[in-house]
Symmetry: C2
Subunit: 446 residues, 2 copies
């Protein structure tokens, strides 16, 4: 059955990669010709193109259009195996990982299992304000958004109906900006003609940011531009507004209550919990501070890449950002180190390791149709040009030609007909109504 490893020589070093996101996948591919055996473990069977996940949550795309089975992506690589397996612990000193039902040794370990949302110690907010990291998250948010309009349509009570049609997005980073713009767009364009009792135009979308500006990782001019564009789409932007509580009626900002039936969390990220099993000091977000070569100090055979790693670029002394291009660069960087060292006739012959340098390809965030902000090579763009650039870059980096084609067609459809392609409410459901409008028998009731 040994069809995949091109050698059964168990003396070849085993490179265990944990996580099939941008970082893990890039590392695996780059090791294609290295004299190693690779094992890539992920608890999902698919690689997810997270930058477009918000479009699944807002019913524009289907999950399968932004995800691809990891096995399928890597099927041509003969020195690699894939296991749908959750790694639950790492013992650095014994060079062993644990997983439900067993444990396994590694020669090199690449931790690339990313981040999840953080509620800053208020994890009980999660049920009321879901975050957006996985496909299941996105389908849950889609269900809530679409169900809110169905409930509003049947709601007789005026205050309850207003609450149903109020969406609060917490967090003014790229995900928050994109979610707020997309919800407002679906309410203003795709839905109005479909509802009878409610005017979906009146949907309130409130974007809350704890800091003084949106998109804090971009230039202040881009922040202003994004805010102006959102406001032009009737998104209410509130800066310096830190959420102090979330309940079923909305959120609290200090003493002020904002009533809303729908809260979406896009505020914080924290590193995957696997980092906590390492027994090394972590930073405030739970990330692993690594050496300039991305290894854990004292454990040169263990690398941490992507959102899980805390590292500064040696040139700018700035933290390397938690972006897909950074994760991919890190993945290739550690793969090259492993490649060189395993090809060297003996460990002493391997060249000294370089320091990881982040090449900043630019940053961008989309806001809505023909509205985006982008910063590339010191230049700042906005509006249609930035939006086209954003679209082109995202299609180009999608994995698989089929997904590129389907996303492109979906977008063409979406922007030509102002329609959403995936407006399905799936999963257990009931339309939650306070006082039922009896619209069967006229607006005056039975």
């Amino acid at each position: 059955m040994q069809r995949c490893f091109d050698t059964d020589d168990t003396r070849r070093p085993l490179v265990l990669i944990v996580g099939g996101g941008f970082g893990g996948l890039s590392a695996a591919k780059r090791l294609k010709r290295a004299p190693v055996r690779i094992y890539l473990a992920d608890q999902q069977n698919y690689h997810l193109f997270q930058p477009l996940l918000y479009q699944v949550a807002t019913a524009a795309l289907s999950p399968a259009e932004i995800a691809q089975p990891i096995r399928q992506i890597l099927r041509g690589q003969r020195n690699l195996r894939v296991g749908m397996r959750q790694i639950t612990g790492v013992d650095l000193d014994r060079r062993v990982v644990t997983f439900p039902g067993g444990e396994g040794r590694y020669d090199y370990l690449v931790l690339a299992c990313g981040a999840t949302h953080s509620y800053f110690g208020n994890e009980h907010w999660q049920r009321k304000a879901p975050g957006l990291k996985t496909i299941d998250d996105a389908l849950e948010i889609r269900r809530r958004i679409l169900l809110a309009f169905e409930a509003a349509e049947q709601e007789e009570d005026e205050a309850a109906r207003r609450a149903r049609l109020t969406f609060i997005v917490v967090g003014g980073g790229p995900t928050g900006v994109e979610m707020a713009g997309a919800i407002r767009q679906i309410a203003a364009e795709a839905l109005p003609r479909d509802f009878h009792h409610i005017s979906t135009h009146t949907t309130r979308v409130i974007l809350l940011e704890a800091g003084p500006r949106l998109l804090p990782m971009m230039h202040p001019q881009s922040s202003q531009r994004a805010q102006r564009d959102l406001q032009a789409m009737d998104v209410e932007v509130r800066l310096d507004s830190r959420v102090t509580d979330v309940d079923t009626h909305g959120v609290m900002i200090g003493d002020e209550r904002l009533a809303a039936g729908n809260v979406i969390w896009a505020a914080g990220v924290k590193a995957a919990p696997l980092a906590q099993t390492l027994g090394v000091p972590l930073d405030a977000a739970g990330r692993v501070p690594v050496a300039p070569d991305l290894s854990i100090p004292g454990y040169p055979q263990v690398f941490v890449i992507g959102d899980l790693a805390a590292v500064n670029d040696p040139d700018t002394a700035e933290p390397v950002p938690g972006l897909a291009p950074a994760a991919m660069q890190m993945g290739r960087f550690v793969a090259d180190i492993i490649s060189r060292e395993t090809k060297a006739p003996n460990p002493a012959a391997a060249p000294a390791r370089p320091a990881f340098r982040y090449r900043d390809k630019g940053r961008m965030a989309t806001i809505g149709r023909a509205r985006a902000v982008a910063e590339i090579a010191g230049r700042r763009f906005g509006g249609l040009l930035a939006w086209l650039l954003w679209s082109a870059v995202h299609v180009a980096f999608l994995v698989g030609f089929r997904n590129k084609l389907f996303v492109l067609l979906n977008w063409l459809w979406h922007h030509t007909f102002f329609a959403s392609g995936a407006r399905l409410i799936t999963g257990a459901q009931q339309v939650p109504v306070k006082r039922l409008r009896n619209d069967l028998n006229g607006d005056d009731g039975v």
Copy 2:
């Protein structure tokens, strides 16, 4: 807000349609110009193209490609409202339906809420052998199929691995035939190169039929052809095999045990439970025996159409089959009656009601690539021609140009590259393994 009803004249008769499937949708559309107010209630927000649901269950299509929001389909119709609402009871004498939180009167009632799967009194089999009626069903079956291969890949125990790679499909009707062929095809074509420890070619697919032939609603020659085609694809077909028990280890056929990790139920249908609230006699499958005009005897303003109705064609004296074309014809038929009667100046002036006559457009079932059987206008086809015909008809009847385009592109992709488009495992999950293979550290274990 009264944007949809083109009149608020509550003296216009209210036509309540329960169910947005083929029957309900056809009735609603046909009433577009009738002087009535229509209310269409469905517990889902979408119309589902059920004939292609098995392709969602076998990872070929995404849910959104075969479903469309009911509101969106009917948005242009000004005498109609849509409510995402479950109708839980009918009081025929009071002319009232009940739903959670209220009740409503109707002038005409069209019951079109279809059928669900039947376990013939063994409803506890459902968890072990899910059926295929809704999108959630299809995603659950997809999850189980894909997870079975992941589990087999990690399974060290030989018998447990063989069970993981054994799929039993219960029921030799069109759905069973299509599921069995599609599972065998994905195992033989899409998956082999993706797995290392298992040869997915060895996947066993067993199709069980209680009666003496497959596709009992078709000509015996078509049944034989379908059986030959399935066997050529290495599906094991067992006729005269009635399942007497289902448990986690497989199924029992009398005293014989068939070990299988995966059982899919395609054996029986029963009418939607709403029929039981009518207080009229039902047939063995829970359907409502109706008069030749499709009304409930004694209640001329209540029609039952589609899979929920039990009626014989007056010409052939054969039962009208539970097929999409029959439901659509029934929907248009009752809409025409309602239209005529509501346009008549007084009830006495309305013409006598005709009897429903089913125009048999033919029957078809697909088996696999370039394999199908079809019977049209007394002619029987098989092989490539039948398969192309099947494909063309199914694309043609899909609702919405976008869905037609996307399904067609998916199929082209699928059949050109022998790849599946939607191989995602979503929903809560863990890979269920009896004895874990430690493939991290070579096949010889740690």
